[in-house]
Structure formats: C-alpha cells, structure tokens
C-alpha cells in the first residue's frame, strides 16, 4: 500500500484512519438507522424511507413500545434472574477453581477435564430431561426454574477463567499465610478473592451478558408472559410490531441500549477476561 511518492506520515495516518472510520460507520449502521427510525413518526418513515434524515422527531415510539412490549415485566425478570444467578454462579465456580488451583484436589486433572468438557456440550442435549425434571417439582414456568440450568451451563467457563487467575497467585504467599495460622477458607477469602478481583469482575460481566441474552432455556421453560425474560419478550414483541417499524426500532433500542452502555463502560474487563480465557494454546 506504500505509495510510489513517499507519502508523509500525516497523510497516511489520515487516510488509514478515515478508511477504518468509514468501515466502522458501515459496521455500526444497523444500529444508527435504528436510532433515527425510532425517533421519527410512522408517517415520516413511510414518506421518506428508512435511509433518510427524519423530518419530524418524536419520543412517542418509546412509550408505545415500552407499554406494548411489556418491558417493565421482562426487564424486571431478567434483572432478577441475573442478580441471583451471577453471584451464585461466580461463588461456586470460584470455590471449585480454588480447589483446583491451590488445594491439591485429588484427581485434579480428571476433574478439570470433566468440568471443562462442559464448554463444548450444547444445551440441546439437556433441555428435555431438564424440562421434565423441573416439571416434576412444579418449577416450569417460574423464574426459579431457569436457575439450575443457567448455573450448570455457566460453571465451566467461569471456573476455567478463574482457575487461570488463581494459578498465578504465588504459592509462597499462601504458604506464608498458612504459617501465620490462616485456614483454607481464610486464605480463599482474604487473599485469593481480593487478588483475583479483576477476574471476578470480568467473569461476572461475561456471565451477566450470557444470562441476559439466553433464549433457548427460557423459551422452553417459560410460558406465561408475566414470567418472560427480555429475549423471550423480544421474540413476541417483534411479532406484534412486524408492521410498525418505528415502534419496533424503539423496542429494540429499549432492549439493547442498556447492555451497550454497560459494555462501553466496562469493556476493559470484558476484553481482559476473553483474552485471559483463551491465552493458552
């Protein structure tokens, strides 16, 4: 790409930045047209088309979408499940990762293989027995009924990442604490967890995103609208709004903007966690 005339560094910088910036714009375009569509009236959209600057602005679409999509219910349910599932999942995974990394667990390698193999197991294989299992204890169509499967399928990845971090805590540190009389649990609580705080935050965020976005289990377990999670609500919502594009766009934005904002704020942790979970080859 080096030009025959030695281009000055500034010119090349501007050129490369503009080219990538344009690509970024194209990449982001689906979300941008969503914003302009959600902020215009239906009549304006019909007369000027999707790819045009709105002639009139309105916020009514958001109110309509919020009400008809019943987002207050689906948001509440998704928040509730995430608030219970994520800390619980991270806690049990951290204990397991600690046992694997620092407690000389017997059959350690086999346990690791057994647990990490879960990363490859698709949900499909478990959903039917899970459904009948939970139906027998009347937990289908309840939010609590989502928990067991969400926990079980989250454990392999969370344990994997936390194990990577725990391993790096020097053994000397633990030995020293032990000589000072600290037991296994105190070492876990006062040394491992604070030292692994970045990793804990990372897995918590990734777990929240995964829980927040999960469709298949929710689709199978939940049947009443009042128990719907956000992805399930979206599915019904997009059917109801299939001809009302401005309302549809507003609804999609209601569903995705919070998670995008969260991502933008916390992306440092997400990037760190994804690369940490994948560094070994």
């Amino acid at each position: 790409m080096a030009a025959t005339i030695p281009a000055s560094r500034t010119v090349r910088t501007v050129g490369a930045s503009v080219a990538l910036g344009l690509l970024g714009l194209v990449w982001f375009a689906p979300l941008l047209v969503l914003v302009t569509t959600a902020l215009r009236t239906g009549a304006d959209l019909a007369s000027s088309g999707t790819i045009s600057w709105p002639g009139s602005w309105t916020l009514d679409n958001f109110a309509d979408a919020w009400k008809i999509g019943d987002f207050s219910t689906t948001y509440r349910n998704s928040l509730l499940i995430a608030v219970v599932k994520v800390p619980l999942g991270v806690a049990v995974s951290a204990l397991l990762a600690y046992a694997l990394a620092k407690l000389d667990l017997r059959f350690r390698r086999s346990v690791m293989f057994f647990v990490f193999l879960g990363l490859t197991v698709p949900l499909y294989i478990a959903i039917v027995p899970l459904f009948t299992m939970l139906r027998s204890v009347y937990l289908t169509d309840t939010l609590a009924g989502l928990l067991p499967a969400y926990l079980a399928f989250g454990i392999p990845f969370t344990t994997l990442v936390l194990h990577q971090f725990f391993r790096r805590v020097p053994d000397e540190l633990i030995e020293a604490a032990r000589i000072d009389g600290a037991g296994d649990f105190r070492i876990f609580w006062q040394f491992m967890l604070p030292l692994a705080l970045p990793a804990l935050v990372t897995v918590a965020i990734l777990d929240t995103v995964a829980t927040w976005n999960e469709l298949l289990i929710a689709l199978i377990m939940l049947s009443s609208p009042e128990n719907s999670t956000l992805p399930l609500g979206m599915l019904n919502f997009s059917g109801a709004f299939s001809t009302n594009h401005t309302g549809l766009s507003a609804g999609i934005l209601i569903a995705v903007v919070p998670i995008l904002v969260l991502y933008a704020l916390l992306q440092r942790w997400i990037v760190g966690g994804l690369t940490a979970g994948a560094v070994k080859g």
Partner: protein
C-alpha cells in the same frame, strides 16, 4: 505440570535442609477438605448438565412423545430414522455451510481488522475496537429482529439502499427465498462474531515483541515477509483457540435461525438445533429429538476435546 515444578522446588529451599525438620514425604498432599470447596459447583454441574445429558442418551433409545409416562425402548430406531429423514440431510448441509462461513469470515475479517487496529497509523483505535466488538454483546434475538427488519422485502433498509444506489435489480426477498435465506442468516452471525477473533488477534499482535519486527526489517525483510515469518507464526496459538471456540459455537446455532426464519421458507434453513426443537416441542417426538441432540453433542464434544485438553495442561 511444568509450572508446578518450580513451585515445589521453591518449598524445600525455605525449609532448612538439615535434619532439624524431617523432609516431606509427599510434597503434594491431597487434601480431602478440598472436595468441600469443589462440591457445590460439581453437584450443580453434574445434576443439571451431565445427568440430563446422559438421560437424553437414554431417551434417544425410546419412542417417547414427551408427554405420556411410558417410554417404549426402541433401540437404535431413532438413529436409523435420522438416515431417512430428508430434513436431516438439509440440516446437516446447512450446519456445515453455516459453520464454515461463520468461522472463516469472522476469523479473516477479525484478523484484518486487528492488523489495521494494531497499526500506529490509525487514530481512535480503542474507539474503533469498541465499535467492531459491540454487536457481540447484543442478545441474538435483538440481532435477529434488527436484521429481519433490515431485510424486509418491501421497506427494509437493505433493499432501499440497493434501490438508491441504482441496483434495483438486486433487491430481493432475502429471507423469503430459499436460495438466499440461509446466506441471509449468516450475515448477522458474521456481524456478531467478528469482534471475538478481533480481540484475540489484537491481544496476540500486541504480544509479539517489536524487536522481532525490527530485526527482521534490518535483515532486509519486506512488509509481506515480516507478516509471513514474524506475525503469522506469532498468531498460531490464537488461531487454534479461535478456531476451537468458534467451531463449538457455530455448531450450536439456534437463536438466529429460530428468530429470523423459523427454519423456513419450507424447511430450507433448518439446522440440527432447530430441527431438534421442532421435533420435541412441535411434533412431540422427544425420543427422536433426543437422538438429534446426541448427534450434535457428539460432534461438538469431539471437536472440542483438543481445546479442553489444552486447558487442563498446567
């Protein structure tokens, strides 16, 4: 066990060698109490993932309809049925094609973007990285809704853009025509998936020491030679990881197909995951659905084993 050795070696160094303290007989003592820490996660994992999975294997040997209590044992009938179910042929082909495209394109695009974003010439690199990764955090249902709307044959943005560009001849019912429907579902998948290899490649590129490039340049290597002999070898571990994780992920495809085409038009975009879902929850053939699930799982686990093994090494 490579990292365990220096840690073990460090211990005797601190305990005085002379006979005042007896030397440790077993340097690595297994602690029974460790199981108390491992137990909660292992119980949940075994009870709600492993056990149901094994139960599915049993169900796949029955003709269970999913409702009545009696499960008639039919041996391998469901597996034989896989061979003469024409939708399975479509689904397997679709799965393979989908997997191939939604792995290769994101990897290539991700690598290209990572190389660009690693270059000091580009301004606003972290902002651009945020932009390119953003689709990955969206719920797939929302992604499907967005693209379903963009693809809308009468007033969707894609056809509108084509018309505006004077390419009206190319406008199309993207999701409604079985010759384009599957490809149309792959576009949002690529959109969502490119961010992940981008992040990993970027991290790997930043891990390649600058001195390697500089000394190669001093030896007279041109840009292509440096890419070929310095950059690419440095990315090899990342290639393996990205490939393994994408393979597992791509093979599980469900959300996008379910929400975008519902397996249609006709059954042209059925994949194994959706076809399993339809059999279990629409046609009440749980036994047969379980057989499909077993096949998907075997393939996914088999493909994933090298990755899992690499992660259990110390």
């Amino acid at each position: 066990m490579t990292t365990a050795i220096p840690a073990e070696a460090a211990r005797p160094a601190r305990t005085p060698r002379p006979t005042t303290t007896p030397p440790r007989r077993r340097p690595r003592r297994h602690r029974p109490s460790a199981w108390a820490y491992a137990a909660p996660a292992l119980l949940v994992y075994t009870g709600f993932l492993v056990y149901p999975a094994l139960q599915s294997v049993y169900l796949s040997l029955t003709s269970w309809d999913g409702i009545t209590p009696d499960k008639e044992f039919v041996g391998l009938d469901n597996y034989r049925h896989l061979a003469d179910d024409p939708v399975i042929g479509t689904a397997v082909r679709n799965n393979l094609l989908w997997t191939l495209v939604t792995i290769l394109l994101p990897m290539l695009l991700g690598l290209a973007l990572a190389l660009a974003l690693n270059s000091r010439l580009v301004r606003g690199r972290s902002f651009l990285r945020t932009v390119f990764y953003a689709p990955a955090v969206l719920p797939l249902v929302s992604v499907a809704t967005i693209w379903g709307w963009l693809y809308n044959p009468t007033d969707g943005a894609i056809n509108e853009a084509l018309t505006t560009l004077g390419l009206e001849a190319l406008t199309h019912a993207w999701l409604g025509d079985d010759s384009t429907a599957l490809w149309a579902t792959m576009v949002p998948a690529v959109w969502v998936r490119t961010g992940f290899p981008l992040l990993l490649y970027l991290a790997a590129l930043q891990g390649i020491p600058r001195e390697l490039h500089e000394s190669a340049a001093m030896d007279g290597a041109n840009a292509w030679q440096r890419f070929r002999h310095v950059t690419l070898p440095g990315l090899r571990p990342t290639n393996h990881i990205v490939l393994a994780l994408s393979l597992i992920e791509s093979f599980k495809v469900f959300d996008l197909i379910y929400a975008l085409t519902y397996g249609g038009p006709g059954r042209s975009t059925q994949v194994l995951g959706t076809w399993m879902y339809f059999n279990v929850f629409q046609y009440y053939q749980s036994g047969y659905g379980a057989a499909i699930a077993v096949v998907i799982t075997l393939v996914a686990v088999f493909v994933g084993i090298p990755y899992v093994l690499s992660q259990t090494k110390d």
